[in-house]
């Protein structure tokens, strides 16, 4: 492997780009889960975001509308989940799975007319700095605005949950909805908001794939990334910063293993392909060994149905 410094910079840049959809979707799902709602529909919401973003880009020729629209479509589809689980009190797991099936099927149907249309170049920021500064240039510059947003988001999420009153409300609702309700908090409303926020972030994650990362629409193009995001949230023990670390490790090893193949390392390819999953789990388990902290971060009432007696 050629190991000159500028090459490593480019490599780190592409690792960052590949981890963006995971960071976005996992950060959104994290808020949903911290409010006590387990939404397994991440994959479905992502794919709906991907087709909506791409379709809007083709129809309106405006990337801003496409991005906003993809988030809105994620919000709308998660509203179905919210209505079913919060207002009709259906089982979270079953409803979330149904949402994924529904999202994949619906996106395939909506996308029929958008297959085979080339995407558009998404504007990148500071592209001149990327070329002129060795090593740091490709890492810090020349990315889309969504990437910068994704890398700030876990810190904002962390701040929100730990330092703001609203964050405390979300955590209270996730830990003990009955006590929260007795304190006068509208549990259902808070959970609705968290579900919709999660949907919006998943929609954005999908749009990142169809508009920026591989600009095109193909059926099922999320290819299981939603499930990885879900797993990240659990293995990161509901900590936003660890979600970020996990996503970067996963993206990083996924890309490094391709480089190792291209270089011709004599390691079985199947092992290399399993490596990102293994390493992410190992690292997250190792950095999350403190059981006191896990207890603190785990939403106690995750996935349990809450209803208020009248």
């Amino acid at each position: 492997m050629s190991l000159d410094i500028s090459f490593i910079g480019i490599l780190i840049g592409s690792i960052m780009a590949s981890s963006v959809p995971l960071i976005l979707a996992a950060s959104g799902e994290l808020i949903t889960e911290r409010s006590g709602v387990l939404n397994l529909g991440v994959e479905g919401m992502m794919i709906i975001g991907a087709i909506s973003g791409f379709a809007l880009m083709v129809i309106t020729d405006n990337l801003f509308i496409a991005i906003i629209g993809s988030m809105l479509s994620g919000v709308i589809i998660s509203l179905i989940f919210g209505f079913l689980t919060q207002s009709l009190l259906t089982n979270h797991v079953a409803t979330g799975l149904a949402l994924t099936i529904f999202g994949i099927g619906l996106s395939a149907m909506l996308g029929k007319d958008f297959v085979g249309i080339p995407g558009k170049d998404f504007p990148i920021l500071f592209s001149s700095l990327r070329e002129s500064i060795p090593f740091f240039g490709p890492i810090l510059f020349g990315h889309s605005i969504i990437l910068y947003f994704a890398f700030v988001l876990p810190f904002l999420t962390n701040y929100f949950l730990k330092k703001t009153k609203l964050g405390l409300v979300v955590r209270a609702v996730g830990d003990s909805p009955i006590s929260a309700s007795n304190q006068g908090i509208n549990v259902i409303l808070v959970r609705y908001c968290c579900i919709l926020y999660g949907g919006g972030m998943c929609g954005l994650a999908g749009a990142y794939l169809s508009l920026i990362y591989t600009p095109q629409w193909i059926e099922n193009m999320t290819a299981g990334r939603g499930w990885i995001a879900l797993a990240l949230v659990v293995f990161a023990t509901w900590s936003p910063i660890k979600v970020l670390i996990g996503a970067i490790i996963f993206g990083g090893i996924s890309i490094l293993q391709l480089h190792m193949q291209a270089v011709g390392f004599r390691i079985p390819v199947q092992f290399l392909i399993a490596l990102p999953y293994l390493m992410t789990i190992i690292v997250l388990v190792v950095i999350s060994r403190d059981s006191r902290k896990i207890k603190l971060n785990t939403p106690t009432s995750l996935g349990r149905i809450f209803y208020k007696e009248k």
């Binding site: 395939a108 029929k112 080339p118 990362y213 193909i218 059926e219 290819a223 391709l258 291209a262």
Partner: protein, 354 residues
Amino acid sequence: MYKNFFRYLISAIFLITFSISAKAEFKVGFVYIGPTGDHGWTYQHDEGRKAVEAAGIKTTYVESVKYGADAERVIRQLAQSGHDLIFTTSFGYMDATNKVAKDFPNVKFEHATGYKREHSNVSTYSARFYQGRTILGHIAGKLTKTNTIGYIASFPIPEVIRGINAMTLAAQKVNPNIKTKIVWVFSWYDPGKEAEAAQALIDQGADIIMQHTDSTAPVQTAEKAGIWSFGQASDMQRFAPKSILTSIIDDWAPYYVERAIAARDGKWSQQDTWHGLKEGMVAMSPYNKEMGADLVKEAEQLQKDLASGKIHSFTGPIYDQKGNILVAEGKVADDGMLLGMNVYVKGVEGDIPK
């Protein structure tokens, strides 16, 4: 997984409706491994189906059918619901096709890329895609400056290995220093992963990218990086107008129309078909002029010679990676050897995943 379940449900409802309204009319059924919108393998099979429809014959198709029990059930339903001829268009449908064929002796079956014909109503057919790879190898060998060709591979089956070898042999002939770097993605279809694989190969010095996967992500990555690439299965030119030199196109339409008409007229008989450039089952999309007029001419000549049989993609001497002789000087590889190919030729880097 769930997407497929949803699809089966719909297709099952359709099939039941069809079987109720089944008439004596001649009908052809198609079973696809992917969505018709994949813009690659299944897309091309569906183009073939449309040609059959255009010839005035009724067709039905079922998309995204998984290998195994699901495949058998779908094929059986098609046979039961009055289809007279059924095309199963992926390698993994081999056993299911033969199993159903046994129970429906009056229905004709055509299985793509397989080799089992256990009953007299089963035919097999495939295309000599490797002939296209020979042309790609020739062009790549002439154009590469880094002497490194990047190859994105899907699964280690003979079909894929044959393509890698055919390309490498042709490239070596015009450029003995050529190296083929391979990345296995273990998927037919994952745009994100295919794009990352292409980028990894480019970062490792490849200045020409080709793929044996189905999405257009690799050619788009090549376009962005400003290097050459080749399209796969269908003409991908509009996804990477500057980068694409040519695409290997699978054209099933003439074969499907011929077989459907034969079956309708009672002239169908069991066959094993392996067609290539000569018959038009493999075609090349227009060559990119940017490669230079001379090279375009060479490619066109090579295409003609491969079609006429004057040149064979696997002409000896051919050595494996360890230097053992595979095909002696002056000989060509027979079809049996091609169909079971499971070793790399000299010049390919790495090991075949086992």
